[in-house]
Amino acid sequence: MTESAALPPPRGPLPWVAGGLGLALLAAGSWIGLFEAPAEQHMGDVQRIMYVHVPTAWNAMLAFTFAFACALLVLWRGDWRWDCRLEAAIEVGVVLSALLCIQGAIWARPTWGVWWDWDPRLTTTAVMLFAFIGILALRRFVDDPSRRAAWSAVATVIAYADVPLVYFSVRWWNSLHQMQSTPETVSSPFHLPLRMNAFGVLLLTCAFISLRARVAQLRLREELSPPPPAWAAPARAPATGGAR
């Protein structure tokens, strides 16, 4: 990757503000979801996990989609900042989808009596989790920064294109089982906490990606040390000969 300009040091309080706001929204939404909203008719209190589960799912997908966009920009534009954002988005996406798998298992156990039910959405999340863990490993094992940027962008494009294929294959594969649906047909009293949490997690996701991208950028600045200072005359005076 060729570089157009030196990486500027990242600054600004915006991610912190967004993160704080997101945390507050998440806390308030969860409070309403846990204590104010009525229990769901069929599933009772178990269903309340939806207030974090659905926002996590949306934002995990959003993080990976953002990573995909970053990867395309790395490949087209060759800008280091998109490489930093790519790293951040994948890492946040991996954390979110790991949380999602855990929440899914917690939900499945009391509802269906098993930890894992091969629901296409959840299974796709698990497959994506491992695919993107692989990309994080790739980044760790490639030392040259420009190779690392190009390769992880390539791998991200390839992994992201797999999402619909995995989803459909798991869905068809599991179609002999009874298709369980996660409660998405949500009626009005559940709307408010769900929305609050969705935006809360969204703000937190943005904050984490932005802050993690700063870490990546600082690391990269360290790695891509600036060019050596202008030619300092060595002890031996260089001859100024030669027709050039």
């Binding site: 060729t2 040259d144 920064p145 891509l224 040390s225 050596p228 030619w231 001859a239 000969g241």
Partner: protein, 244 residues
């Protein structure tokens, strides 16, 4: 890739502020270079001074981190394929599939080049570098010097306008030295531009017209090649007495 017509120029190589880094390390810094068509340039410098990197960048094997260059009239970045078509690089590796014979390896290259890949022309080429008797032996059975000879044959088959020789004398026996000298002379008779990195200053001074000394990736001295063993060495700390 667009094949823009070569800009008419008297220069075979024009480089401006050429830089290349490997991770943290800058191997090449702000190298300016102009070499007329048909000229021969000797590149000298200590181990790790950037000689190989310079030749590899100019051959299109690795991209410059910054700066620009035109080789054989084509831009190194925008018209990479055209540059590669017109350059041949003798690098440190032999560019061979070791399980295949020398002849088979040459035939592979000839096929990609769209050249005659019959047995006889290729054998003649191997004969030229003194490998005729081992033409059908796997390259993995070759000694280091024989690999070097094979690599020379592979450079010759490309019939390039600009030939870049990185330590052509390395590993060779005394007859090999005169073989390189002979091939060098023939390239020049045909009007090819030759860049040669070597530590054999006297030998290089006899063969080349221009000289260039690299130190820590920068141009430390330029001048007529004939001056290199004298003032050039003194300027660049290349004498045997200099601190290692």
């Amino acid at each position: 890739m667009s094949t823009a017509p070569a800009r008419p120029t008297v220069f075979a190589v024009e480089a401006a502020l050429l830089c290349r880094r490997y991770g943290r390390r800058w191997a090449l810094v702000d190298v300016d270079l102009r070499l007329p068509r048909g000229a021969a340039l000797m590149v000298a410098g200590r181990n790790g001074s950037g000689k190989s990197t310079l030749l590899r960048v100019l051959a299109g094997a690795i991209s410059p981190t910054r700066g620009s260059a035109r080789v054989a009239g084509f831009d190194l970045v925008a018209d990479l394929d055209e540059v590669r078509r017109r350059t041949a690089l003798l690098g440190h590796a032999s560019y061979s599939y070791d399980a295949l014979s020398a002849l088979e390896n040459l035939r592979i290259a000839a096929r990609f080049l769209g050249r005659a890949h019959g047995r006889e022309p290729l054998r003649a080429l191997l004969d030229e570098v003194g490998l005729a008797e081992r033409a059908d032996d796997a390259v993995e059975t070759f000694s280091a010097g024989m690999r070097r000879r094979f690599a020379l044959a592979r450079v010759l088959i490309q019939d390039a306008d600009v030939v870049l020789l990185d330590e052509p004398y390395g590993q060779l026996d005394p007859p090999g030295f005169s073989l390189v000298d002979r091939l060098f002379g023939r390239l020049r008779e045909r009007g090819r531009t030759v860049l040669m990195a070597t530590h054999l200053l006297e030998r290089g001074a006899d063969l080349c017209d221009e000289g260039l000394v690299l130190e820590a990736g920068r141009v430390a001295w330029t001048g007529p090649a004939a001056d290199l063993p004298g003032p050039g060495v003194a300027a660049a700390g290349l004498s045997e007495g200099a601190t290692a």
